[in-house]
Symmetry: C2
Subunit: 269 residues, 2 copies
């Protein structure tokens, strides 16, 4: 089960492993998890749910109450079906939260695998370094750990690049300069909503999820190109009618883009 | 089809992809490809043969005549069955040849995929950098290229580490100091055969493949541990009765190991 919108590679990875992907839309307009809708999608064949918080593409951070509700529901379902249902917590943006608490899933739910990447926290996206953590609380924790190692071996991930292993070992306490991301977020969100765009207020990550002013987000993205604005239509993330804007750029670049965003929405008035 | 002995991960990768592995023993004592035996193993379901030259674990370099004979046989079989049979040429040791010509497979055979790694040529084994080359001569070359890229995406190999991409781009003409490897090879092969070991004279790579003085190579490796000699039994490479010794170490380390090798073989006299 993958809550939508979602990072498109989840589908590729899951289907390549022979899994069937079931997507469940998040609630609008805040894009929090819809626990009731997820519950309806769970059945005796459900193996895992992928949770990505802070979220790409929406910037939503799932609250402790939401994670508690998800955990209670999954525990009930595990008991009902006598199965293991894993939470796969994909958390590359964990350190990029603008004040909202990012609940640590293994504290709430035993059958969890935490996937972490240093790509965002240390701005090292090309260096391919991260980890998977299997908590001892997980059922058959040692076997699950061995299965993750075995899958890595079969897929050819014998080990992560060694230079970067040494480098991040020296940087485990380093944190990104969140103030720059926050400044960019406030500037972009403030200006765009001021111009008349409808956007999800992002609590984390470095994306702004904006409602397309016309139903077809692809058409809107094409129109934006005239203004040299490169937006990603939400269709790629498993839902329609939105676009993703990355603000992982210089503040100056955002400042320079604002007149273009203003002119673009004027076309729809 | 995988000629044995072979790098054990070939089986893991192939079976993970849903392929059935058929192994064919190389000729003894020189461990060249046995073209007749490979021909007997080819049938209408054969998709590919993995050729690894210079070879791990034997150090054999397959000669131009051998590759020509293999290519002729495979071309005949392709015509007979109306199928594509690929040569997957795994060549991390290409630059580590002690004078023997390492034939470039796409010159001989159209349906080839060349897998290269800088792990050995630049002594960067932990840095995870290499490439796959699909020659234009291959049938449906563009589709095959797209399939390789798609497989990489589905397996999670989005790109190789970026720092090392920049680094090897500056080092494409660099070659390893083969003289040190050659010195180690001559010293180890000379001394061990002098003591009474039977070994395959290696033309490439940095391994010596030695016949176990007792039929059970695992038992021989256990006995060697008493002398602080760590040997790899050939069973791991898909054949019995041999051990692999790596000479990718300092010459001093080899010199210091020789009395231990001598004492070890004395136990069998």
């Amino acid at each position: 089960i993958i809550p939508a919108p979602f990072f498109p590679e989840y589908r590729v990875f899951a289907e390549n492993a022979g899994a069937r992907v079931v997507t469940v839309m998040c609630r609008e307009p805040d894009f929090q998890l819809d626990i009731k809708a997820i519950e309806s999608a769970v059945n005796e064949k459900t193996k895992a749910i992928i949770i990505n918080s802070p979220n790409n593409p929406t910037g939503a951070v799932f609250s402790p109450d939401t994670i508690k509700a998800l955990s209670d529901m999954l525990n009930d379902k595990q008991a009902e079906y006598g199965t293991d249902i894993y939470i796969i917590a994909d958390e590359p943006y964990r350190e990029l939260s603008y004040g909202a608490e990012v609940p640590y899933i293994p504290k709430y739910y035993a059958n969890t695998a935490v996937c972490y990447s240093y790509s965002k926290s240390l701005s090292l996206p090309g260096e391919r370094i991260g980890y998977i953590f299997i908590p001892e609380s997980a059922n058959n924790s040692k076997k699950l750990y061995a299965a993750v190692c075995g899958a890595g071996r079969a897929l050819g991930f014998v080990c992560a690049p060694s230079l970067m292993q040494y480098t991040v070992a020296e940087c485990t306490d380093a944190l990104p300069d969140i103030s720059t991301y926050k400044k960019n977020r406030d500037l972009l969100f403030g200006a765009l909503t001021d111009y008349g765009y409808k956007a999800v207020p992002p609590d984390g990550a470095f994306y702004l999820f904006v409602k397309s002013p016309e139903p077809d987000a692809n058409a809107f993205c094409e129109r934006a190109k005239k203004y040299e604005l490169l937006l990603v239509p939400s269709d790629d993330f498993g839902c329609t009618g939105y676009v993703r804007i990355s603000y992982c750029v210089t503040t100056e670049q955002i400042e320079k883009s604002l007149p273009a965003f203003k002119a673009l929405i004027e076309e729809y008035k």
